[in-house]
């Protein structure tokens, strides 16, 4: 890059901060800023966004000065399985209910590690579900339907 060497981690970090600063800053501009005496809803976030962009710029400048350690390995497989798991729980908890949501979530998360064997995963997922339904649903009585409206046709009511 034009003969300037950037430390990749720092460059990326600066860009992330600037991106967030820009996002919050632009949104703040759409709100009432107000005055220092009567601050509007946009005042405080606008100031903070400005600081964040500034910090991002400083980090990018620093990225040309120092050479840090490389970023290192990234847990792609882990991210691919761990991150969707809670989303699936959120999507299924209302229509399908606690039991099915839990089965899906635990099954997906079980494959985050390449060491997991499928039959062990099955045992583990069933154990987690039985335990969690027992403790949270029957024991603590959390207000969640065990089987959601989409499963009403099954007539399961326990």
């Amino acid at each position: 890059m034009n003969g300037i060497a950037f430390d990749r981690a720092n460059l990326l970090c600066g860009l992330v901060f600037i991106a967030f600063g820009a996002f919050f800053g632009i949104q703040s501009l759409g709100m009432e800023i107000g005055t220092a005496l009567r601050m509007g809803p946009g005042y405080f976030p606008l100031v903070l966004s400005g600081v964040l962009v500034l910090v991002g710029l400083i980090i990018i400048v620093q990225a040309t000065q120092v050479k840090g350690e490389p970023i290192g390995p990234i847990a792609w497989r882990g991210a691919l399985f761990i991150l969707p798991a809670p989303i699936l729980f959120g999507l299924t908890i209302r229509p399908l209910g606690f039991v099915v949501a839990l089965l899906i979530t635990a099954s997906v998360a079980a494959f985050a590690s390449r060491r997991m064997k499928p039959h062990w995963a099955l045992v583990l997922v069933l154990a987690i579900t039985v335990f969690a339904v027992g403790v949270f649903s029957y024991g603590l009585g959390l207000p969640m339907r065990r089987f959601g409206p989409w499963l009403d046709f099954l007539g399961w009511n326990f």
Binding site: S28, E32, P41, G72, A79, A112
Partner: protein, 502 residues
């Protein structure tokens, strides 16, 4: 005397069977998760936090949270000693000599020393909290919005100073945390801010979801990067009882560690970490045989463990008196209190004495339970170390999902978890520490509210922050700390400290 009648009131609350039971569950669960290598006490508490909401009674649930905290810390030390893998930086120092003791077959003694040191420190620190908290609440009642604002600035600045790595990045993390805390309806005008038009975010981002994401999920992803098998040194730990010689050698370091830890723990921004490191350095300096340090010196376990625990306890002082969290764990505590409908701050002591003194007394009960429980159960914890990670991930994820959802039964909170999990992992990869972000997230709304109020009271005159003496003093402290960490000479020293520590 007031102190004793207050403590008696607290003990009365803390020692009902009901509350002892919750404290016990907390301590067991905390140790159980804390003992897992690579999962620090902040992550442990973030994951277990939702469990405490089901209890309903705020006193019991906060007592259980405190139990989880002590358990997690002790679990972390156990891991540090047995497999040289500290769950977090505050037990990193223990790993140095503790692991060497374990290699010499003295793992049992090391664990017992850690327990005894922690218990002594916990007892002393409980009294210190009981003595110093009430007068400080008196002072805090004189605080106006300007003082609160400046005090929070001090807290945020100290968290920057005590973060690992780059100061500039830590500043960025605090600011980012502050910005995220503003998502939701503005308290004054009712205007929705940064909600992306999603109604579910009008009521702010769920604090538990943010904490679970940024500490729990991110930490799991980090563990998945490199799936090594762990070497458990002992399959069985024997010989818990320290010898007479051991007792003689650990006594003074425990006392010194306790004093140092109690002092540093009050500092906002993460004093407990600093405390364990500082007390290790002190012991090494004044020891008659410094050459033994790093090779299994019992002082090297006794002092930092005591300091660590004392600091963990006294960090409740700013929380209980001012409502200001001294570290990410206290930030979680504040979050828990707010969810229970308690506004942390000076009014807690006067309006809810049972809660206030109950928590203080439960600190001591928690420490006692730890000693009673952990020494006989060491064998179980050792077994747990051999449970492979890949079995734990689905369990943790399932419990996190249930926990976060149960807080306000809002599916969007689960999407928040994932967003902050991914962001937390990305930022850790870019060498940014997550603790300042969480502190900023917790303090953000209070900071803005007090800033706006102070400006209105002062009729828009910004000098109010420097003309009111307490506020001015606090801002001077914040400025000095910030200048100090940016000075080249201190910066180098600070980097050295953190390099040695990790």
């Amino acid at each position: 005397m007031d102190l004793f009648s207050n403590l008696a009131l607290g003990l009365g609350v803390a020692t009902t069977w009901h509350n002892i039971g919750f404290c016990l569950i907390g301590v067991i669960l905390g140790t159980l998760v804390g003992v897992l290598p690579g999962i620090g006490s902040t992550a442990t508490i973030a994951m277990l936090l939702p469990l405490t909401f089901g209890i309903g009674d705020p006193v019991s649930s906060l007592i259980m949270m405190a139990g989880i905290y002590y358990g997690a810390q002790y679990g972390g030390s156990t891991t540090a000693i047995l497999i040289n893998m500290p769950g977090e930086s505050s037990s990193a120092v223990t790993a140095i000599d503790g692991y060497q003791m374990a290699r010499k077959g003295r793992a049992g003694v090391a664990l017992a020393t850690a327990a005894i040191g922690s218990f002594f420190a916990g007892t002393v620190a409980t009294f210190l909290v009981a003595i110093f908290a009430p007068p400080l609440t008196g002072l805090a009642l004189k605080f106006g919005p300007a003082e609160y604002f400046s005090l929070m600035v001090v807290g945020l600045v100290s968290s920057i100073a005590l973060a690992h790595g780059s100061v500039v990045k830590a500043i960025g993390m605090v600011v980012l945390g502050l910005l995220f805390s503003l998502v939701g309806q503005d308290v004054v005008s009712g205007v929705p801010r940064f909600t992306l038009g999603i109604r579910e975010f009008y009521d702010k981002l769920n604090f538990v979801a943010v904490a679970v994401g940024i500490f729990g999920i991110a930490e799991i992803l980090r563990n998945l990067e490199d799936e090594r098998t762990r070497d458990v040194l002992m399959k069985k730990v024997t010989g818990l009882m320290p010898t007479r010689e051991d007792f003689k050698r650990m006594a003074a370091p425990i006392v010194r560690g306790t004093i140092l830890g109690s002092l540093l723990g009050v500092l906002p921004g993460g004093g407990a970490i600093l405390a364990s490191f500082a007390s290790y350095t002190v012991e090494k300096r004044i020891s008659k045989h410094p050459e033994e340090f790093g090779k299994g010196a019992i002082e090297g376990v006794a002092a930092p463990e005591s300091a660590n625990n004392a600091g963990a306890q006294t960090s409740f002082i700013p929380l209980l008196t001012l409502g200001i969290p001294a570290n990410p764990v206290m930030a979680l505590m504040i979050g828990a209190m707010i969810i229970q409908g308690i506004v942390p701050g000076p009014n807690v002591a006067t309006q809810q004495p049972e809660l206030f003194w109950g928590i203080i007394a439960s600190m001591w009960v928690g420490n006692l339970l730890l000693v009673i429980l952990n020494l006989p159960l060491v064998g179980v914890w050792v077994k747990l170390l051999t449970v492979p990670y890949y079995v734990l991930f689905p369990i943790i994820i399932a419990f996190c999902a249930i926990g976060v959802y149960s807080v306000r039964t809002n599916p969007y909170d689960l999407y928040t978890v994932v967003f902050f999990g991914a962001l937390g992992y990305l930022l850790v990869k870019l060498r940014c520490e997550p603790a300042p972000l969480l502190l900023g997230f917790v303090l953000g709304p209070l900071l803005e509210e007090n800033l706006r109020r102070a400006m209105i009271i002062a009729r828009g005159d910004a000098t109010v922050f420097v003309t009111r003496p307490i506020s001015a003093t606090l801002l001077v402290i914040a400025a000095l700390v910030l200048v100090a960490v940016l000075l080249p000479s201190i910066r180098r020293k600070r980097e050295q400290v953190f390099v040695e520590e990790t």
